[in-house]
């Protein structure tokens, strides 16, 4: 890794930093790390719900990104590419820990036809009037109550905009299971947020 400053890294767009990183300029890569480290860490934390693990996995993601930076062809934004790396590592981590199979009573319910009993999701906006920070905190809290398997699918779809097919491939489940997990996660989240509204009005 070189040490001399060749460019104004702070002012350069991501695309330029990526190009310089591909040429081996560590300073350019360091600027990318600085710009995107919070998002990468936040995604890992959302998936793993553990600060130490999230820190470790997100740092590992940066190492992988440096090693594979020459494979990045710009089909997506650098931020998206980076988030995909961290999500893959989080899924590996969850698989290793077999956490996806723990507390699976809800999954069993969901996969044995629980979906139809769960209409409707919600009617009124339970978070109306909340400050943004408070809303974030409440959503984070509610997401922490989902199982790893449900949360992973929800994060990939709602926050990463991934299609069912892509999620199914990454997680190694059928599209039907993606759909039912996603529905169950949403239903549970809506119920938790609905409870929040009741709590606030009391």
């Amino acid at each position: 890794m070189s040490t001399s400053l060749k460019h104004d890294y702070a002012a350069a767009p991501d695309e330029e930093l990526v190009r310089w990183s591909q040429q081996g300029e560590a300073e350019a890569f360091e600027e990318l790390v600085h710009r995107h480290r919070d998002k990468t860490y936040a995604r890992a934390l959302m998936m793993l719900r553990n600060e130490d693990e999230a820190n470790d996995v997100s740092q590992e993601a940066w190492v992988k990104a440096w090693q594979r930076i020459n494979q990045f062809q710009g089909e997506s934004s650098f931020a998206t590419w980076m988030t995909r790396i961290v999500i893959n590592l989080c899924l590996d981590q969850l698989r290793k820990q077999k956490r996806a199979r723990v507390d699976s009573i809800e999954e069993m319910e969901e996969e044995s036809g629980g979906v139809e009993r769960q209409l409707p999701v919600t009617v009124t906006n339970p978070t109306e009037g909340l400050e943004k920070d408070e809303l974030r905190r409440r959503i984070d809290e509610a997401m922490g109550k989902l199982t790893d398997a449900h949360r992973a699918v929800l994060v990939m779809h709602e926050f990463e905009g991934m299609e069912y097919k892509e999620i199914a491939k990454k997680v190694g489940i059928s599209i039907g299971t993606v759909m039912s997990r996603l529905f169950y996660a949403r239903r549970r989240l809506a119920t938790l947020l609905h409870g929040l509204k009741r709590e606030r009005s009391e």
């Binding site: 790390v33 860490y41 936040a42 494979q71 139809e116 906006n125 974030r136 984070d140 779809h157 989240l189």
Partner: protein, 154 residues
């Protein structure tokens, strides 16, 4: 379509995962089913809430300290496994050389085989011509064309 299928199709409709025919079918259902409309509204609302309130988190380490940790990991990894400096397109560019290289290799193999076949007869001949010496405790192989003589001692 049973209730579960309908529910998941309504969700797929909201998520933009249906093709035109499936969308039309769901829309027909929405026109006459109030519960289905409520569900679709609820799913859209939830997505909107999640977009507005996506949880955020910040790395607590300073920029320098965070980078130093990553740098250490990179250096450790590079010792074990050097970084790939080839892009996909660079790697694929080797294919340009692979085709002629394979062609040259095939020609070389054919020439060698022909050569071997051509020299096999004199070699056999040489072996037969010297068969008598086998009885004397050695075998001599001589190839006139190669100008080679090999002695096997029994």
């Amino acid at each position: 379509m049973n209730t579960q299928e309908l529910t998941l199709n309504l969700q797929a409709y909201v998520d933009g995962e249906l093709d035109a025919a499936q969308r039309a079918e769901v829309e027909k259902c929405l026109a006459k089913d109030a519960d289905a409309r409520t569900l679709v509204t609820g799913l859209r609302q939830l997505s909107e809430i999640l977009k507005q309130g996506e949880p955020v988190a910040k790395v607590s380490d300073t920029r320098e300290f965070y980078w130093s940790q990553i740098q250490r990991r990179i250096q450790a990894q590079e010792k074990a496994q050097p970084r790939s400096t080839e892009s996909v397109s660079t790697a694929l560019s080797w294919l340009r050389w692979l085709v002629p290289a394979v062609g040259v290799a095939v020609v070389a193999v054919v020439v060698t085989l022909q050569h071997t076949a051509g020299s096999a007869a004199p070699a056999q001949k040489g072996l037969v011509e010297n068969k008598g010496q086998t009885e004397a405790g050695s075998t001599v192989f001589r190839s006139e064309s190669e100008g080679v003589t090999i002695h096997w001692l029994n």
